[in-house]
Point group: D5
Chain length 149, copies 10
């Protein structure tokens, strides 16, 4: 019996490595962005029934796993509060070094409030550059003003 | 005697509040982006001599402070490893929830390596949207492949 | 020179103790709820110009402090990640003991998403009870569904 | 042999996903609120004999598991002191941002003491709202004054 | 201006050392136990007006400090989560080594619930013993059963 | 093969739940207090040969487990430094809120030294009270003065 | 089914101990330095197809493991943030004691920026010395200046 | 009165910034390497009398500060266990990613033991490279075998 | 006004550096071991009246400081749970590497119990050795058996 | 397949309990001290081939385990940074309370440097005493002066 979404994630990841499946192909199969699809496969988002069945077929998952994919998961993909993996750490570093800057500039433009991480999308792509290609990431989050009451 | 860059940052921030200076105006005065300029004013980047003098004039800083602005600072702008401020926390949450996704997709596109946080730029702007304006952020970092030797 | 909002909070708190001012009276003076007003006085929300001036008069604050009240503060009111104060700890305990329950029930009713802590209000009142009066707190937060993209 | 309540919780959760059982239906079956019932199923409360047997039938639990449900569990439902899941984190954030406010206002109304998390109830419901439905939560806890001796 | 209860505690402690005042004498002066009185002087309890004035006289405190003594303080008397002082650590050790035992035995006697730390008293005294005197401590806390709802 | 005392503790606890054994009955069987006996069964104390054999019979333990019961265990019964379980947390809170008070009063009575947690006993009992029964706990620990040399 | 790179690392390490394989021999077999090769075998680098197959033969790995070796791993080889192993701790100590020195001297020579840990190589060798041989380590990392924008 | 070595370090650093002194010039003045000299100026090593006096003259230090420079300091130059500054973090990352590799290779060459961080020297220099200059660091530490007894 | 023992410790340490006083000379002056005396001067032990006065004269302390020296201090001499200073870290490492060994051997010899850190003495001396002098430390602590009750 | 030294340690410990083997007897069998032998059996030291074979015989270990005993292990024997076991904690407390004292006295005698934890030995024995026997521990570590370069 599968008792957590993490077990499903492990099944997906193990099958992906064994079969050499690409995340972009999975995204295409369910008709959504590669960013949302990958996050969902890695246990951070909730699939609807049809999407879950497609994922189940692609990764040869048992029915029980397909049921788990439709349950809102306990989110958080990092094993430690400060990530040790260098690629992910660089993002943590950006938040640490630029955190106060991001805060100042969003407040300067919008006033007090936050940039939503829920009504949010992300787009990661290659940016060709003669000095070495770059990773270009666009983050878009709704501005939510603090409610006064 | 000023014994750390943090004291200079506090002088800048206190003067900014008192005089009502905008970060975008400071950026214009030194001819660089508002993102880099704000980060530098908040103690995360190093000004060159001319920039430092301009900052010194805008914020009425003593000579000693102007000297400190030209010294590479000990970086990191957050008081705790996991930020408590909701605006900054949302960014930490993005790294936590999407961390494994970002890792997978950059590796799928570029192979093993990282997105640089040094050869890096950031652009924060308002994205008009009928359902409520959004914060749009573009991050651009050079891809650095792991060296094999 | 005042170099942080925390110094303003300390001025307000010290004056409150000395003069015996009540939070409910402050709230009435600026025409908002006692919950939002207290949070703002304790450095967690941003006052507009008129509100800040009223606060400045009530607490005999210098002009500089009044300017700081209009700046979006770095939020977070607790000195440690797990609060030691028994009253506040009980709230942390509720989150810890009931956290998974809250998650399950909100998802069962609304699907995947969160209850906003920004488009949010709180109302604390006395609930008379023959076995001993109770604290009754109503929390109201907009449900924000996860965006699919 | 089942050696902890956590194993029973995992059985319940896995069966719930597989069978598509709703917490509200479980609550109805044992005649208590959905909040208490869910917390109890998730290993935070103690069932009496009759309730435990009902739960055992609903979730096809072995006798041993039914015995465990009647034992006061080691409570705490979060894997980390600061929760990573965004829905639960928002509650932690409320405690962090509003913690000092809650403390001030309860003391202003009741004097020194706490709001009990034991003689406590919680009610979570949907609050229809034209701008987007809201999560409405009522917390009710007995006020306990500090004993002087 | 005094901006926190901690400053008042420091004044009390410094004066106590300078004048050689005993906690038992302070307790007698306000007519309460030495345990409650000491805790209150160390910033953990709230004095009423008359008690606060007596304390003010005993320790030559300014009026402002006397006002602070009547405000419910942010409680917690230890600088670190795990105390380093050997005397206090032994108590932490008792909680750590005997924690599960205390839990089991209170539940065996009373069912699920807690021993209150608010409706609580403590009595510390010398217990003469030929092999070396002992510290005898009686803790009395109201049993609070978990509410079912 | 059993490779740690913890496995033995799990066997004992699982059997206790299954058979409905009471700690007080176990204590009676080995002729010691319920406090020491429970702590020992929960892996915090060392049984002698005869006691271990009695425990082995009561809980149907294999010989190997009986051997482990006679080995001084690695002590500490809590999964986290700050306990999450509300009953145990209240004890941690007592140490935190009253820690400095306990220190002051023991030193006032005995001078510098500690209250032993080794030459120590604990007695937990019900204290009838018209306003609600109380948990009464007596702790007795030998005072150990710091050696001067 | 193998569900993580760590399982592959354990297979490699267990086989290495059983067969008495040397890291230098592995390095020779794939034609790269012993430093990169060892790091890769320990789950910190990504092998290409041919290298992975060679590793697979040397360590009798199943095909699935060979597939995992070609996937960029989640990096970080230490079980705790501050390493307990004395050999590795000495390196942490060097970073702690000399950290500010390294920062000052690299900035004095190169200006603001970092020494890359990605475009990086390391060479560990024995340095004969009459007073006792020494470990000589050469680290070479590209200097990356902070981008101004 | 100067009550810690850290105050002396702050005096040195503040004067360095104000006067624009270079670490290499300081090193030359006392006739030692720039690495040892900088570490000593930053409060990590102990100067002898003559060196301390030279430092005192270069940085206009009071006699008391010169006395402190000759006292073995409490070492450790980082404000947090995991450094936030990107330059220093890269070194922490090297220890984390390559830690197990360094351990394996030193043991393969030397057997069980450590590389000393006390009988240790470090040399940081620029390594010209057409693709961008590199930081070249040589670490040399005596191998110390574990004593068998 | 002196409000903590730490301020007294700082006065002692600052005067020691300025005047070049040796701990062994202080020990001789009060007629106790250099280990106890140093610990007491560093704020870890309590002086009696006569000792405190001698210390006061040696270090030119004000009367208030002499009073503080006679108060049992809050003990613990390290700024972090894991010490960063290499000399002190080696002792932490001994406890970490040999901790389980020490436990096993004391239990093998004495049964369950502890080695007292209160009825304890320490003697640090030079041990001449042709291969390089050694630090020889003798620790002597009373064995305290766990009480059975 | 055995994939870590810890599994070998568990085999040794389980067998020791089952067979009632004494560490002193093991030490005698390999002709070394009980301290080094116990540490090695508990996974902290490396056996040579002959010693490993003797250990293998005493504890009925498979060949693979005997191979593991000859590999330098990842050291550190405690499950948490601050040990919870009272016997081991007392040693941590000694380091905490006496840490600054040990540092001062070693520096006063030897100058700047450390006491080695590698070229180190330990001897634990019973010290008869009329007031209760004592644990007497002699630690001997080579003094290593900081290298100047």
């Amino acid at each position: 019996m599968i008792s957590s979404r993490e077990e499903v994630t492990q099944l997906i990841v193990a099958t992906k490595v064994q079969k050499g499946i690409k995340w972009s192909a999975v995204a295409e199969a369910i008709g959504l962005s590669k960013e949302w699809t990958t996050a969902a496969c890695l246990g951070q988002m909730t699939f609807d029934k049809k999407q879950a069945e497609t994922i189940g077929e692609l990764f040869d998952l048992p029915d029980e796993a397909v049921a788990w994919l439709q349950i809102a998961p306990y989110k958080g993909s990092l094993p430690t509060a400060v990530p040790t993996d260098p690629l992910i750490y660089r993002w943590y570093e950006v938040v640490n070094v630029y955190g106060s800057t991001i805060k100042e500039l969003i407040h300067e433009e919008f006033g007090d409030g936050i940039m939503s991480a829920i009504d949010f999308s992300m787009d990661i792509k290659r940016e060709a550059c003669p000095k070495g290609d770059r990773v270009n990431v666009v983050l878009s989050g709704k501005f939510l003003p603090y409610k006064t009451y």
